[in-house]
């Protein structure tokens, strides 16, 4: 087991990882930019190293400074968290070269699965249904237009290097195609440094269902059930739950098997997530695979009782997988609400100082946050302030607990999306489980559901 782990991240996930390390009696090293000097993850860690000015390129994306910090603290391993360098194969390689264990899959896994077009191809070869589309990158616009007419409209143009909801656009008719195609390419180049695009059939209002994968170095791979992440705004997830109402046990088993098959085909190890789209008729298709711990991992932790970050660390230390597929059971129901420092109606970021911060509590309520009274939400980084995760014996109780938690949570000094979550939790569609990616649009179109103040 590692003696010391450096966490190459910030905010709530840095704290989450450090908590797992503390329970495993592993020393922690925090790295931070000058903007994060008062951050909770810096205070919590056993040691901390300032690595740069607030800009990501100077700090959290600065590979050489992060590696140097690991060297001067004699860390054995680096946990990249999510976002930032978590899915940067180059970073994983450098860690390997510097004899620092990267806590996650191999650089090869990241490279293979990180290329969306290649991952789709792998899924197809495994016999897993894939959203109809081009399984390769299309550069020539004539070829693209031709293929687009084969797939049919509406369709999606997606960046192969994209992720987190970025680098995708919907095209509704052939007249708009060439223009969208050209723009998407330049956007992809600017955002990801890779202009590669592929095309995909656009499924109207599917459910977004993802499966948590866990695997050791000997090739033992299992899934830990699914998460339904259909409630999204501009492809950014806002509310997640497990299990998904869209799955009965048989479909769960089929999808779980498919997820494991894709991971196996890619020789995957450690933690990962396979994403699917599920249509209203129970047909599922592979969307992409994420090779990192995800923001919404706590939902799976609640229903399985398994600490995913600790398992990640154990697997990275070379330990064998501690569970068999038959042992995995989803019990009860869990819901996570992502609270952002944003206006609850227009979602405009609202940085500033938190003056009051009182967490909800009681049975079945968990809060993952790096914030505290007096903390300044800086404009440099993302607006996630807290994740409120509830668990109940069934979905009804989970919803009741989520509503209670939203009422109890007091955050003052900045605007937050708590009122938005309250609106969703009260909406009849949500309560009835009529949840898919079109949910928010329908909610906003309904004048009856006004935000509670």
């Amino acid at each position: 087991m590692f003696a010391k782990v450096l966490i190459a991240n910030r905010g709530e996930i840095a704290l989450r990882i450090m908590r797992a390390c503390r329970e495993l009696q592993i020393k922690t090293v925090a790295v931070y930019s000058e903007a994060d000097a008062d951050s909770l993850h810096v205070q919590y860690a056993d040691e901390s190293v300032c690595i740069g000015s607030p800009e990501l390129s100077s700090s959290y994306l600065n590979i050489s400074r992060i590696i140097s910090a690991a060297e001067i603290t004699n860390a054995d391993a680096i946990h990249p968290g999510y976002g930032l360098l978590a899915e940067n194969a180059h970073f994983a390689e450098i860690c390997e070269a510097c004899q620092l264990q990267f806590i996650g899959p191999s650089a090869e896994n990241i490279r293979l699965m990180g290329d969306k077009a290649t991952a789709r191809k792998l899924a197809m070869e495994t016999g897993v249904p894939v959203v109809e589309g081009s399984h390769w990158i299309i550069s020539a616009k004539e070829e693209a237009l031709e293929f687009a007419s084969q797939i049919g409209y509406p369709l999606m143009i997606k960046a192969t290097a994209g992720g987190g909801g970025k680098g995708m656009r919907v095209v509704h008719s052939p007249e708009d195609f060439l223009q969208s195609f050209a723009t998407a390419g330049s956007e992809a180049q600017a955002a990801f440094g890779n202009p590669g695009l592929y095309l995909e059939r656009y499924i109207e209002n599917p459910r977004h269902v993802e499966f948590q994968i866990l695997g050791d170095r000997s090739g033992n791979l299992i899934h830990l059930g699914e998460r339904d992440c259909s409630i999204q705004r501009r492809h950014q997830k806002l509310i997640e739950e497990s299990p998904s109402l869209g799955l009965r046990q048989r479909l769960r088993e089929r999808m779980g098997k498919a997820a494991v098959a894709v991971a196996k085909a890619g020789n995957y190890s450690n933690l990962g997530t396979v994403e699917f789209l599920l249509d209203s008729e129970g047909n599922f298709s592979f969307l992409e695979m994420n090779t990192r711990i995800q923001v919404e991992h706590p939902v799976t932790e609640m229903v399985t009782g398994i600490d995913l970050v600790k398992e990640q660390i154990r697997l990275a230390a070379g330990e064998p997988l501690r569970f068999k597929q038959e042992e995995i059971e989803l019990r009860g129901h869990s819901i996570e609400c992502r609270i952002n420092a944003e206006d609850p109606e227009r979602f405009i970021p609202s940085p500033g100082r938190i003056t009051e911060f009182r967490l909800p509590g009681g049975p079945g309520v968990r809060v993952d946050t790096h914030c505290y009274p007096g903390y300044d939400i800086s404009p440099y980084y993302d607006s996630l302030i807290a994740k409120v995760i509830v668990q109940g014996e069934d979905r009804r109780e989970a919803i009741a607990r989520a509503r209670r938690a939203m009422e109890e949570f007091v955050i003052e000094g900045i605007k937050t999306t708590i009122p938005f979550h309250q609106r969703v939790l009260m909406s009849p569609d949500f309560v009835k489980g009529r949840v898919n990616t079109g949910f928010l649009e329908r909610l906003n179109a309904n004048p009856a559901s006004k935000a509670r103040n």
Partner: protein, 162 residues
């Protein structure tokens, strides 16, 4: 005259005292009240004896940029204490006072140096980076020790510009 209720020294009061002390030069304070006697000693930020620094450094002027791998780096500046200029580390690594073990240090306290003079080496990822002075002046103090790990923004030297 009504009897005054004796004020007790609880956690809140102690926290208030700590907050007040934080912004002063006071290092040690002893209080005695009724049967309660407390002594508070605060370790003040001196020349960084360990590289672990939790103090918030103010946002510094833009770095002139790291050049790699041929490594002559301009040092960072900022923070004027009196007329002294603090030379801060532009990177994360290990600080060396001399070009080689056993060799003469690049600079000593009291030395007068020209802008561009190499003050020290910071090693990072097996690369030696020479840190150059951005000002001409006298070396007032050297704040770190040989082979000490340093972080970004860590004060290395105090210089008196001339």
């Amino acid at each position: 005259m009504a009897k005054e209720k004796p004020k007790t020294l609880g956690m809140r009061e102690i926290k208030e005292i700590l907050d007040l002390l934080k912004d002063t030069d006071v290092e040690e304070i002893e209080l005695e009240k009724d049967n309660l006697k407390i002594r508070i000693k605060i370790k003040k930020r001196g020349p960084a004896p360990v590289w672990i620094s939790r103090s918030a450094t103010p946002l510094l002027p833009e770095l002139l940029g790291e050049k790699a791998p041929v490594s002559s780096l301009p040092a960072k500046e900022g923070d004027v204490a009196g007329n002294l200029v603090t030379v801060k580390s532009p990177m994360v690594g290990t600080f060396y006072r001399a070009p080689l073990p056993g060799a003469e240090p690049f600079v000593k306290e009291g030395d007068v140096v020209e802008k561009g003079k190499i003050l020290c080496i910071i090693e990072a990822m097996k690369l030696m980076n020479e840190i150059e002075s951005e000002v001409s002046g006298r070396i007032h103090s050297i704040l770190v020790e040989n082979v000490q790990p340093v972080e970004y923004g860590q004060p290395l030297f105090l210089m008196e510009p001339l």
